[in-house]
Amino acid sequence: MLRASIRNLVAHKVRLVLTVLAVMIGVAFLVGTQIFTDTVKATFDELLGRTSKNLSVVVREKSDFGASDFGASRQPIPESLVATVEAVPGVAHAVGSVTGFATLVTADGRAVVPKVVGPPTLATSWTPSNLSSLRFVAGRGPRGPGEVAIDKAAADRFHLGLGDRVTVQTEGAPMAATVVGIVTVGASSNLAGAVLSVFDPATAQRVVGRPGYVNEIDVEAEPGITQDELAARISAVLPAGVEAVTAKTVTKENTAAISKALGFFNTFLAIFAGVALFVGLFIIVNTFTMLVAQRTRELALLRAVGASRAQITLAVLGEAAAVGGVAATLGIAFGTVVAFGVRGLLHAVGVGLPSGPLVMNGRTVLLGYLVGILVTVSAALGPALRAARIPPVAALRDVVALPVRSLRIRAIVGAALLGIGAMVAVGGWLAGSKGGGAAARVGIGAVALIVGMWLASPVLSRPVIHALGAPLVAVRGVIARLARSNAIRNPRRTAATASALMIGLALVSMLAVLTSSTKASIASLVDRNLGADFVLQSEGFDGFSPDVAHRAATLPGVETVAETRVGRARVNGKTEFLAAVSPTIGSVVGLTMTSGSLTTLDDGALLVSRSRAQAAKLTTGSTVEVEFPDRTRERLRIGGVYEDNALLANGGAGYLVSLSTYERHYAVQRDVIVYVEAAPGHQEEVSAGLARALQPYPQIHVRSQAEYKKSILTQVDQIVGLITGLLGVALVIAVLGIANTLALSVYERIREIGLLRAVGMTRRHVRSMVRLEALVIAVFGALVGVVLGSLIGLALVGASGNQIDHLVVPFGQLAVYVLVAAILGLLAAAGPAWQAGRRPVLTAIATE
């Protein structure tokens, strides 16, 4: 039995190569993701662990405001605590450190910003001690005002060297400084993509902190004292609101924060691996159906000489396991390439990860094999069971057909799922305006729709392919008629082949509808609401000095300047996003008050968005308790309710306070976005004025309405491009499936092709026939996918409620997808078509 299985596998190399490839790609992405995650964890564990050799305990503000972002959102603690901590028995050494945001500007006016939008521009203090993770690779530590050290990645990118003059921009007045040192963070040339500038403690306090305050205190233990013990001892002497945590905890937190920051890639790759494996499933099912069909007589013979049904099933499953094992092995090997690729990609966008060895855990290998083999075996289960049903007498028959089950039950279940899916999705769609789980309902509906469509597609394939083929038949005559009838000859196989394409294209089309609608909504939102002539922003989320707004305000021709700052606060015990705005915000972002007034902001009132007001049951005139990060609580009056506005603070803040309220409660004063409105007819003058006045701030982008709109749409496009690119790989797998199916079709129809040649068909005709078959199958899968995906996309748009208020179906784009699928189908047919045309007529028709 085993020998027969092995021989069989070797005999069907080409078919198996396609199957192995399909499984391999899925496993590779899965394993690659895992390796990458483990590698990042390991390097940061090591990086942070190296310092924790000395670092025992960290003292910091106890934050309840979802502080994760590198601890930057924690409030500073009094510097006097350093002495308190140092007095605790067991403490060898304690160092206060200061962290904040600062941007360096080079002498030739370039802002030293991260390579990619996202990571912040950080400023930190450095004290000579063995507690710091900073390593000086050139120069020395900064001493006193006017000295700065910068990270190696930024120094390299901006060609900054020792002795170069830079301007340090913070919230206050800019400070001139000289680069005196170049640092690495452990072995890494920067901190996960952030730009780092380093000052001595007093300077750091002055430029990014508050004199007399530090952000955290790093503690070294005396020998023989455990971290936990020391943390407990220190905690005992700390005031309320300040905590002592072990270095181990901090390392874990930082690693988690970094993993989370890179999590986008991981989640994305994991989803993609899932899609690839799912699409691969169809190819495996097809392959094993073919292998069994080709060997019907051989299997029947085995049954005739005494093999049991179970033995036949096990033999086929064993083959599947072997194929899955080979594919998983290759996939695991290829996964390291994927991990390298991800690291390279991150490196390309400026995230300097240590170039240590990749970490391959036993767990990762196990996962790869488990998934690879499990997927293959479960896909082969159906064909294996069908193989067992071959009667022994089939060995004696000339022509044998596998028992074919009726499609009726499958079609009924499929139709039922389609109905249920549609109902759930439409339900979610309609629930959109009410909010709450609408998108999830559409998601569940979408899964039901896709599975239903897969089940129903064999039955659907006949009429659809018949109709699709009609124009081809009109043009190409009998060749096209034969191709079309070949395509619907085995509806189950055609459907499985087309399904792989269908799923890929459904996802891409859904994305296309979603993003087109999003873009249209954004464009109309900006057109309708944006009253400002200019929008001032820096890349990234760490904001810039209010000095920018002050400079703009003094320009001649400027009518209105509105600032925006963001922060977190606890409203009625719930952590919420809040924005601080100038009262002039109303006109620049088109804010509509449903009740109350914007001017109440200046009286210290709180404004609430309509959706938040509904959710939290807040009404104008009532009061609510707000807890700020500085641990003070205030009862604020609700001064008014405004319509939700996506332009507010880059995405629609739920609560608004005045700038002065913000200044009282937040340690850091940085604007994230500033709107400038010119007096009528003074746009040109203001534009020129802004360019001049903001020269010291090269990181600030001054954008007109049109430019602002474009910058947002470009961001959407970039994300879409990335996702489409990865889904493209799923389409490649689908194309492998088409090639696989056609190869089998050609194999099965050798004699028929020979006959056609005998009655006068040219090689060219034969090749055309195979290609046209691929074409109709591909277009069938693509069309069904595009239609299904578009409908799901539309339902998702509906489910988003007011967020996406334009329904746009990008017909041109969808048509291009179908066209691409058609071309891919033709490409997939190239091999099988060549095979079919190459057969000598004689061998094709000669009787055995």
Binding site: G477, V478, E752, R757, V759, T847
Partner: protein, 252 residues
């Protein structure tokens, strides 16, 4: 050579040799075979297994390439044609009937019959097809797929298909091999009728003396050579010659 261009011949082979393999393992499937097939004649080729009768048919039809010698269909030298030329020849001048029917399962009987014309994009001759369909007696079955037809009916469709393009010659390879005797004699009667009434030329390979007795002439092959010929054959006459052939083998 000039007699090869004789207008009265539908097909002919001259000094045809076919060798499979080479050196000590070389097999002479055909050795210097010269044979002529006059127009409007029904010729049967007979011989024991391995005598080369199928190879001769394949070479005549341009499905196989001879090692040396020439094959003429009408006055076209088949051995000089490339693949495109052979395809054109098969479209215009040759019809086939196979042992295993070889109908396209996805096409109806009518579509199978007109398939060669559709492929060649030739306009069918309505009257001709009508007379063929009446002859094969399938008028009420034209819309059926091959799977819905009996073996005899399928082979009659194949016969009509072979004749649809009014070929110069029809090659039949064991056309009754897969049929019961009643269906077989129906098909053979049909082939004979084509020759007598429609003036077609048919070359048939068979090992069945009863089938060969429908022909105007039987050509006997042994060990790749033409060894005998019988005009106006009867079943008993054929059996006699075959017995002689077997005896000849034994006597060698």
């Amino acid at each position: 050579m000039d007699d090869a261009h004789n207008g009265s011949l539908a097909a002919s082979a001259r000094h045809l040799t076919k060798i499979y393999g080479s050196g000590s393992t070389a097999v002479h499937a055909l050795s210097d075979v010269t044979v002529e097939f006059p127009k409007a004649h029904f010729t049967a080729i007979m011989g024991p297994s391995g005598s080369g009768k199928s190879t001769l048919l394949h070479c005549l039809a341009g499905l196989d390439t001879p090692s040396s010698g020439q094959v003429f269909i009408g006055d076209v030298d088949v051995t000089r044609l490339d693949d495109a030329g052979l395809t054109r020849l098969r479209r215009e001048a040759i019809g086939f009937v196979f042992q295993s029917f070889n109908l396209v399962p996805t096409l109806t009987a009518w579509e199978n019959i007109t398939l060669p014309l559709d492929i060649a994009r030739r306009k069918p001759d309505k009257a001709w097809l009508d007379s063929l369909i009446d002859a094969v007696d399938l008028r009420d079955r034209l819309g059926h797929k091959p799977a819905e037809l009996s073996g005899g009916q399928q082979q009659r469709v194949a016969c009509a298909r072979a004749l649809a393009g009014k070929p110069a010659v029809v090659f039949a390879d064991e056309p009754t091999g897969n049929l019961d005797s009643r269906s077989g004699s129906e098909v053979l009667g049909l082939l004979r009728w084509f020759v007598k009434e429609l003036g077609q030329t048919i070359v048939m390979v068979t090992h069945d003396p009863a089938a060969a007795s429908y022909a105007d002439r039987v050509v006997f092959l042994r060990d790749g050579r033409v060894v005998d010929e019988l005009l106006a054959p009867t079943r008993s006459g054929i059996l006699e010659r075959l017995a002689d052939l077997e005896a000849g083998v034994a006597g060698q």
